[in-house]
């Protein structure tokens, strides 16, 4: 298959739109969280100021090669996930680099950034970073299990590993969404989704006030700014994957914005209503409630 060079500017355009949407959406979510606590909340452009400030700091220090590569890997995970999933279904411009077996690759990219971050933060040598990594990897692994089961269930159901094909099957009206054709898999995946969005009750990994900020303890200046950039892209990329697999995908940008916001709000609603889990509690919770659902969905398919 000849490579179409026009895909590169299209992919960059997708990245640009998603990045800005992610920056604004994150601030909006922070604002909603603040309103629940009866605060006024940050201005909607606050994340831009934080980002420019961090890129604009004059000095930075490094702890070694892996420390340097950690945020780079993290950003690669976010951007890679976004570019290998068809962002807008049926659009030549925004299908990006999706191909026949992209579901396996997407699963890999979801985990990739966390591993890179673990290596990088480990090299910073700060004990708080080490504690954060231990907590983060245990929790992410436990949360990833039901998601992987749900993905295999969906792949079995549609007999394909291509996300584009899976979205295509769901285009016959909303009753054809995986949400209705395979509700158990969606339930397992949504419980796993709560665990990976870094919001309560599963945010003890960062825990900004108790274990000073976890893995990024030593990260600052442009290192931190790279990670902030990823914080805008990665959640959206992950939600795009969920939207494509379970909620019928999006055929246009307005539908995309609406569905991404709605799916993000699931974790926000749960987050403002429930207090934080400790790591062993959250692992137990995933294993008891989410994993059996995933196994059941595979058995029933």
């Amino acid at each position: 298959m000849p490579f179409d060079w026009m895909k590169i500017p299209y992919a960059l355009l997708t990245l640009f739109i998603v990045f800005n949407f992610g920056m604004l959406l994150n601030a909006l979510i922070q604002k909603i969280g603040a309103r629940v606590g009866r605060r006024y909340g940050v201005p909607i452009w606050q994340n831009y100021a934080d980002l420019i400030k961090n890129y604009g700091l004059r000095s930075s220090i490094t702890h070694g090669v892996m420390y340097y590569l950690g945020p780079v890997f993290r950003l690669t995970g976010g951007v890679g996930l976004l570019l290998f999933v068809p962002t807008i279904y049926g659009s030549e411009m925004f299908s990006n680099l999706s191909f026949a077996g992209d579901l396996i690759l997407a699963l890999y990219f979801v985990f990739f950034g966390t591993l890179g971050m673990a290596l990088g933060a480990g090299e910073s040598g700060h004990p708080n970073a080490a504690i954060g990594i231990t907590r983060g990897l245990s929790q992410v692994t436990a949360a990833e299990l039901p998601f992987a089961l749900a993905v295999f269930s969906v792949a079995l159901q549609y007999q394909t590993f291509s996300i584009t094909d899976i979205v295509a099957v769901q285009q016959a009206g909303f009753t054809s969404w995986t949400l209705f054709t395979n509700p158990l898999a969606v339930a397992a995946a949504m419980l796993s989704f709560l665990g990976s969005m870094m919001r309560p009750p599963f945010d003890v990994v960062l825990a900004p006030q108790e274990i000073p900020i976890g893995p990024p303890t030593e990260y600052h200046s442009s290192y931190l700014a790279l990670m902030q950039t990823n914080r805008a892209i990665f959640p959206i990329a992950k939600i795009v994957l969920y939207m494509s697999l379970f909620f019928g995908g999006a055929a246009s940008w307005p539908v995309f914005f609406l569905k991404v916001f709605a799916i993000y709000m699931v974790s926000v609603l749960v987050g403002v209503a429930f207090p934080r889990f400790r790591v062993e509690q959250s692992i137990r919770w995933f294993l008891i409630w989410a994993v059996p659902l995933g196994v059941l969905s595979i058995v029933l398919v």
Binding site: R39, K53, R58, I61, N128, P208
Partner: protein, 257 residues
């Protein structure tokens, strides 16, 4: 491990040709006389600072000298602003709109910072938030009196922050010692030890006063006048001499970022 107490004379670094530092009113501060702070120092018996042999995970034994190997002794340097004025203006705008405070309450004044996070004052709407690590913080609020013991930690935290960084002195104690004027173990004048950008007077200043102080700091940052980090680098010897004059158990490198 048994560590023997050691006594020795420590000579301070020669202070030659340093311009007199200016206080906020532009008056010259008293210069430190060379050798004025030579004194007998008792090094603390701390096992973790001793030179020792360490066996690595691969079985190779090597010698570690913590004070030299775990810290950097290279002093701070003056960091120039961005080449283009418009870029520096953009950075200054972002710096003023995104002030991250180091969550380190050094004295009783820290109690006045906590209400700023609550719905009543909500400093987040001004772009102010708290970070738990000095690496990510830009603003160090010295909240109230500073004992000599805490000064040591404050210096280490300040030196770990990245350029540009700001210091706000909260309460009268940071200006002239306040009610601790004749205390044996608190410092009187914060500006002698760290470059202060803004003082917020009062004992205690209310949270509203703090917000006003932060607004004043924002104006300084926007105007490009909050260059405390570069000032610290320029007058490094002067600041170090002042710090060593008052910290008697100096068991860390001169500069540890």
């Amino acid at each position: 491990m048994k560590v023997e107490l050691e006594s020795r004379i420590v000579e301070g670094p020669e202070v030659v040709g340093v311009e007199p530092a200016l206080d906020l009113q532009g008056k010259a501060l008293p210069a430190v006389q060379p050798g004025a702070y030579s004194r007998t120092v008792t090094l603390m018996p701390r096992a973790e600072l001793e030179r020792r042999m360490v066996k690595g995970p691969d079985g190779v034994e090597f010698e570690v000298e913590p004070l030299r190997d775990y810290y950097c002794e290279a002093g701070p340097t003056v960091m120039p602003a961005a080449y283009l004025k418009i870029v520096e203006d953009l950075f200054n705008w972002a710096r003023s709109r995104s002030i991250w405070i180091l969550g380190f309450g050094t004295g009783c004044g820290a109690i006045e910072m906590r209400p700023l996070m609550t719905p009543r004052f909500d400093a987040y709407r001004f772009g102010i938030q708290w970070r738990p690590t000095p690496r990510q913080a830009n603003l160090f609020v010295i909240s109230g009196y500073l004992s000599v013991k805490t000064l040591k930690r404050a210096i280490r935290c300040y030196e770990q922050m990245q350029n540009p960084k700001y210091v706000v002195g909260l309460g009268s104690c940071t200006i002239n010692g306040g009610m601790y004027w004749d205390s044996y173990n608190t410092i009187k004048r914060l500006d002698d030890y760290l470059p202060v950008d803004v003082y917020i007077a009062g004992c205690m200043p209310r949270p509203e006063a703090l917000l006003q102080g932060f607004e004043d700091l924002k104006k300084l940052i926007r105007a490009g006048k909050a260059e405390g980090a570069n000032q610290y680098a320029e007058r490094f010897d002067w600041y170090k001499a002042n710090q060593k004059q008052i910290i008697h158990d100096w068991d860390m490198p001169d500069y540890n970022w």
